[in-house]
Amino acid sequence: MEFKDYYQTLGVARDATVQDIKKAFRKLARKYHPDVSKEPDAQARMQELNEAYAVLSDTEKRAAYDQLGRGHRPGEEFRPPPDWDAGYEFSGRGFSPSEEAAYSDFFSELFGHTGGARGRYHTGGAEFRARGEDHHAKVLLELEDAFEGATRQISLRVPRLDPQGHVVVDTRTLNVRIPTGVHEGQIIRLAGQGSPGIGGGPTGDLLLEVHFRPHPRFRPDGRDLHLTLPVTPWEAALGTVIPVVLPSGSVKVRIPENAQSGRQLRVRGKGIPGSPAGDLLLEIQVVLPSADDPKARKLYEQMAREIPFDPRRNERA
């Protein structure tokens, strides 16, 4: 296990005041906030900051850490001596197994079982009863799965506390039926598949957040599907009926006369199925044939001569 220098993580001196530590943490939290940060490792850095702040903002944990870490360098191999925490009373907030799982082994080894997780989650009182924790995971699906449903095998890394109160991570594999009609960002709730309850409390749930792999043609938006539809100039000008292949089946779409590039056509109920089903939104994109071909060039020249058309008329007015 590597020693972690929490002072270095927050960029403060070892004798920094509580106010200095809070100020430094907030400054860095703003920089690495995963919702706004452009840094590629923002999520990981934010976790490091949270971990460092959880220790240095707590008087008792900080005192124990200072005593333990004296003379150690960051990254150096480290093993705490037995009963290193004797004489310290950790009365601060405990950490749930999922919070702890996000923190480093260093943190879990030192504080995972001290007045925190074990105190909170393994309270031996007869009346203590709590619902088990919910687990959250992302599931990556193909867009086609939303049309036809699917059964996906999902592997989850599940943190749990061992009898000594340390966090260990198990791998759990589940076969999950994906219902027809799911859409991006939706949550599939598997009741009773989270952590076991405590003292006879109910088991938590497993919450799977649905995400689609990028599709080469369709862009989903809720249950609506967006598609760019290339058409020829004569199809756009004269109108036509075009077959459009969908993730499940196909549909014939009437392109009205004089359709312009960028115009959007809505085909109701042909998006992702559901109640109500989403719509298919087609964005017309007029594609010109190349004028390299002599015959095409001749036709363009004929149009230039015979069709009085100026798309920049309004700009000159």
Binding site: R26, D35, I187, Q193
Partner: protein
Amino acid sequence: MRDDDILTGSLLDESWLTLEQIASACTVEPQWLARHIDEGLFPHTECVAGTWRITALHLRRARRMREIERVFDAEPELAALFADLLEEMDDLHARLRRAGLE
């Protein structure tokens, strides 16, 4: 794979849950959630006879607000304003993706 090996879930935005279940799903304390709902900081929550219906957006909103309150000791209203702005940003990103620009 046998049929009884396969788990079938329900969609969160089609399920009615207790406040405790919702708080657990949002990884916040039930009292925190109840207080914020009472103060109108979670728009579009539906409650019928003590059970609630929420969406994935509420989950993300709760986590964001809780984090901002914790890190910056922010007032709940300020955290809600921050969440509003992030949701606006999410919406703009979604529009860019729909337009094939992101």
